[in-house]
């Protein structure tokens, strides 16, 4: 077995050193009835690399990679071009095969990356500080709502109908078990919610998403001020982090907490995970934050260095009194995010965000020209909603037969609802030919 260095001779001499008769003898504390006599049944024996590659390769071949066809899917996961440098650096063994930086003297690489990541997230969101990442955007959102309860000592969260339904469901699931109330408003495909009317003296927070799940972009400055006047926090969720390269950031609108999905930078689609949750707050809430934090300090020689800090909030110290049970971050995904953002820099991120927006505007116009299709958004970033004269799920299946991945039917996110709506996302990876092919195929399918 290629991963196991011990030889039979090694095993024998080690058993002698231990004074055990056999390896099985070392398992003598296991109740006899539960000890298998030999390798478990129902599973194959070991395979060489070539055999594993063939087997997994055959499964991979049954999927249609988004990059092999014109693809316009978004709804919280976006296909962007990831520079070759990112994956090369992420696969350096010193990053890939290190553990959590518990011994800072031999983990300055990971720690400095986290410090830079926290800074990048703070800059992008326009917030004071960010943590070292969460599992994904949806869990980040749920943690933000729990944090708002700790800060305000109130138990009612109000979730906008523009919040991604997966984010809503993760938050309401947590609410049910953890013991707070999450009032989720009905889906709002064309906006028009009066969130403020629902805020009372029991409200811990209002959660909005920008751009929202239907692609609408809004200015939440007034809502932030109004929430805060009533003692509630404003949480802004962002599922397309690239939008932060172009739009007024949530921090500038007055958000108290930003919970975002960072997949757009550096991370492949991966059928939904692993991704990287971003979490940023105003300075005054730092000690109520969940998750891991990296901070600057000095070493015994007075040199600048980095350590994990404020761990008295965390489970390994506080146990049942911790701010969260979270134990990991999304280390490698955060690294990929950070490298991609570093490559882009100020100039690149602005250009890339503008490019995405401009292409989306072009696509919206092309689709609006298809008979029977209506674009619902006035303002959007790189994703918008169209209304079709036929059920979107069936249209998408027809498009898939023509080898076009034509967006996400809204009914997939809201079963049985809004069956004529389709979410369309456009990124720098979509060519003019892709966009023309999509519009032409949609005309055909709707004809």
């Amino acid at each position: 077995m290629r991963y196991l260095p011990l030889t039979e001779a090694d095993r024998q001499s080690m058993l002698e050193a231990i004074r055990a008769t056999s390896v099985e003898d070392l398992f003598r504390d296991v109740p006899k009835a539960a000890c298998l006599a030999g390798p478990i049944g129902g599973l194959p024996n070991h395979m060489g690399e070539l055999e594993v590659e063939r087997l997994l390769g055959s499964m991979a071949a049954k999927n249609v990679p988004a990059g092999s066809v014109p693809s316009f899917l978004g709804a919280g996961a976006y296909r962007h071009h990831v520079p070759a440098t990112v994956d090369h650096l992420v696969q350096r063994g010193e990053f890939l095969t290190a553990y959590t930086p518990y011994q800072p003297e031999v983990s300055q690489g990971t720690l400095q990356v986290l410090f830079e990541f926290q800074t990048q997230v703070a800059l992008l969101t326009g917030m004071d500080v960010a943590n070292a990442s969460m599992y994904d955007g949806a869990t980040s959102c749920a943690e933000a709502v729990m944090m708002a309860s700790r800060v305000t000592r109130r138990k009612k969260a109000i979730l906008s109908g523009g919040l991604h339904p997966h984010y809503r469901d993760v938050t309401t699931t947590d609410a049910r078990f953890i013991g707070f109330e999450a009032v989720a408003l009905p889906a709002a495909p064309t906006g028009g919610e009066d969130l403020l009317a629902l805020v009372d003296d029991k409200t811990s927070c209002v959660v909005v998403q920008n751009p929202d799940v239907f692609g609408h972009v809004r200015d939440y400055t007034d809502l932030a001020a109004a929430c805060q006047a009533k003692g509630a926090l404003l949480i802004v969720v962002v599922t397309e982090a690239l939008s932060l390269g172009l739009l007024t950031p949530p921090g500038d609108m007055g958000a108290d907490i930003v919970a975002a999905e960072g997949q757009s930078f550096g991370n492949a689609l991966n059928f939904g995970g692993p991704y990287v949750g971003l979490f940023a707050v105003k300075d005054k809430y730092v000690r109520q934050m969940p998750g891991r934090l990296c901070g600057e300090t000095v070493d015994a020689d007075g040199r600048r260095g980095f350590v994990l800090t404020l761990s008295t909030r965390e489970q390994h110290i506080r146990r049942e009194k911790a701010t969260s049970n979270i134990c990991t971050n999304s280390g490698l995904c955060a690294l990929a995010f950070s490298i991609h953002v570093s490559l882009l820099g100020e100039a690149g991120i602005t250009q890339l965000a503008q490019l995405n927006h401009a292409k989306a505007v072009q696509m919206a116009d092309k689709l609006a020209a298809v008979p029977g299709v209506e674009v619902l958004n006035d303002g959007f970033f790189n994703e918008f909603t169209v209304k079709l004269p036929k059920p979107a799920a069936a249209v998408v299946e027809e498009l898939a037969k023509r080898r076009i991945l034509g967006g996400v039917p809204v009914s997939r996110l809201y079963p049985g609802e809004m069956e004529d709506l389709l979410l369309v996302a456009v990124t720098e990876t979509n060519t003019d030919a892709d966009m023309d092919a999509f519009a032409a195929a949609l005309s055909e399918v709707l004809a």
Partner: protein
């Protein structure tokens, strides 16, 4: 010299003419150990590491939102970015570079085949919301992984949704609460957790609305069965127990423990963090366990990546099988199907966006297929053999906390350091100078000054011998009274001991632009 907001040097002084007091070099570098400023300290306005096409000429359509003025990110070209991260990587210890016996964390070799498989475009370049007809291979992979996990544990059902071990714990405890609620039993407010448990266990139970009651350990490092029985009653929702436990010991009474918990109407949650010790040899279902999470990044060697991403599937016995979260894969009439909405069944809700950590599923299945039933049998055997060998070779110079045999890790405490002035922490730092990553320190909490060593099955005997020889020599040195040597360690690392107290007292959690020298002078 530019200064950051703390007044510390924020960059290596370019063109410094004097020799550094610490390193004796002009640059502060030491051969292959090269100092690296923050990326923000390498900015040149307008520079970028990507080339993008020209913008199409269209009017923007941002509605009421204004474009932002600036983000504040630094500009670097690609070669600078490559060098930055390469240099940073060289400041990390990693399994690829050496022995990493971090107890309870399972730092075993990460096969590169798994990385290659996860990057096949058929897995990595698939959108989670593609029509199900275009992702049949992805669903087949999830179904296969579920089959392996169920077979290896003997359990009835599995959810792949949780993103990490602690997330899996949440999922398991939510399922337990759902099951009690479904029976109309609302009087169960307590979860029992042994004192030796991982911190996540009590944190999880508390997060799910339970109070936590600690169970003491016996003198041989195991759950005190009588104390447990005394605490069981109609107010107990369940027990959370790690097995093998965090002292590296198998809970001999586990079947009786399970029976007692069941007799009191509770459920038995097993923290599967240490499943790697028994995988392929013992099926948790045969021990009476009702629900258990599995850390794919431990037992099935998906990379730890400096702290994630993890993946924490949870297996369930028949009694809890209905209470799993969405989504899950089913066998439909046209191949595999996905159940994505909780409204469609008794599922308790949703744990994260989309379908789980797919990239980790591919790696874990690649690991399982590579090992097979025979390889996993050998892997858990070698893991236990290695730990017992290390324990046997250190017993005479260090103090083992409990009698063996141990399972995949061996626990020592600091009695052997008594009177030397050397602490567990000092010992760990001295090991760093010897080229090893230290063992886990000060965990579990049930012994004083714990040193928990987990060698894993992917270490050779030569590697174990070198580690043991170094540790023996250090133990002798500590006993000889050379406390100053230990307190000054590590000496040979990119940074020496860091001031963690200062970091927590006045937290600096991000870089901020330097204050210009004129402004400082004006203050």
């Amino acid at each position: 010299m530019s200064m950051n907001n703390q007044g510390r040097p924020s960059a290596i002084p370019a063109g410094a003419a004097s020799f550094d007091g610490v390193t004796g070099t002009v640059t502060g570098n030491r051969g292959l150990q090269i100092e690296e400023p923050l990326i923000f300290e390498q900015d040149s306005a307008g520079r970028t590491g990507v080339d993008l096409p020209e913008l199409p000429k269209v009017a923007s359509r941002l509605g009421a939102v204004k474009p932002r003025a600036k983000v504040g990110l630094p500009g670097l070209a690609e070669p600078q970015v490559v060098r930055h991260y390469t240099r940073l990587s060289q400041k990390n210890y990693a399994i690829d570079s050496g022995f990493y016996p971090l107890g309870s964390c399972t730092m075993k070799h990460n096969p590169r085949l798994n990385e290659k498989m996860a990057r096949l475009p058929g897995f990595s370049d698939v959108h989670p919301m593609q029509p199900v007809s275009t992702v049949q291979g992805a669903l087949e992979l999830m179904d296969q992984l579920a089959y392996w996990l169920k077979t290896l544990t003997g359990m009835a059902a599995v959810t792949l949704a949780p993103a990490a071990g602690a997330h899996g714990e949440m999922c398991g405890i939510m399922a337990i609460r759902s099951a009690h609620e479904a029976k109309g039993d609302s009087g169960r407010t307590k979860i029992l957790v042994p004192e030796s448990a991982h911190g996540t266990n009590p944190a999880t139970a508390a997060a799910c609305g339970y109070s936590v009651d600690a169970i003491p350990a016996t003198a041989d490092g195991r759950v005190d069965l009588e104390a447990l029985k005394a605490k069981l009653g109609p107010d107990v929702a369940g027990l959370m127990l790690t097995n093998p436990n965090t002292c590296g010991l198998f809970e001999r009474d586990i079947i009786e423990i399970a029976e007692a918990v069941h007799a009191a109407g509770g459920y038995f949650y097993c923290d599967g963090a240490n499943f790697n010790a028994i995988v392929g040899r013992v099926r948790p279902a045969d021990l009476g366990i009702d629900v258990m999470h599995i850390n794919l990044h431990k037992t099935f060697s998906t990379p730890h990546g400096g702290g994630g991403p993890g993946s924490g599937p949870v297996v369930f016995a028949e009694s809890l099988a209905p209470y799993i979260p969405v989504p899950y894969v089913t066998h439909g009439k046209d191949g595999f199907a996905l159940v994505e909405n909780a409204g469609e069944g008794p599922a308790f809700g949703r744990m994260k966006a989309f379908h789980g950590q797919m990239g980790m599923f591919v790696r874990a299945l690649s690991y399982m297929l590579s090992h097979g039933a025979d390889g996993l049998w050998q892997a858990s055997g070698d893991a236990v053999l290695n730990a017992n060998y290390v324990m046997a070779r250190l017993e005479d110079v260090m103090t083992a906390s409990f009698d063996g045999p141990c399972m995949h890790e061996c626990l020592f405490d600091d009695r052997f350091l008594k009177g030397t002035g050397v602490t567990t922490l000092d010992m760990a730092k001295a090991l760093i100078d010897e080229g090893f990553h230290p063992m886990t320190m000060y965990f579990p909490l049930v012994v004083h000054g714990a040193l928990l060593i987990e060698p894993t099955e992917t270490e050779s005997k030569a590697s174990l011998d070198q580690f043991v020889d170094a540790l023996r020599a250090l133990a002798e040195r500590a006993k000889s009274g050379d406390v100053a040597y230990f307190q000054a360690a590590p000496r040979l690392t990119p940074r020496r001991r860091l001031d963690e107290t200062a970091a927590a007292r006045k937290p600096v959690l991000r870089w901020t632009p330097p204050v210009p020298a004129e402004a400082l002078a004006a203050e």
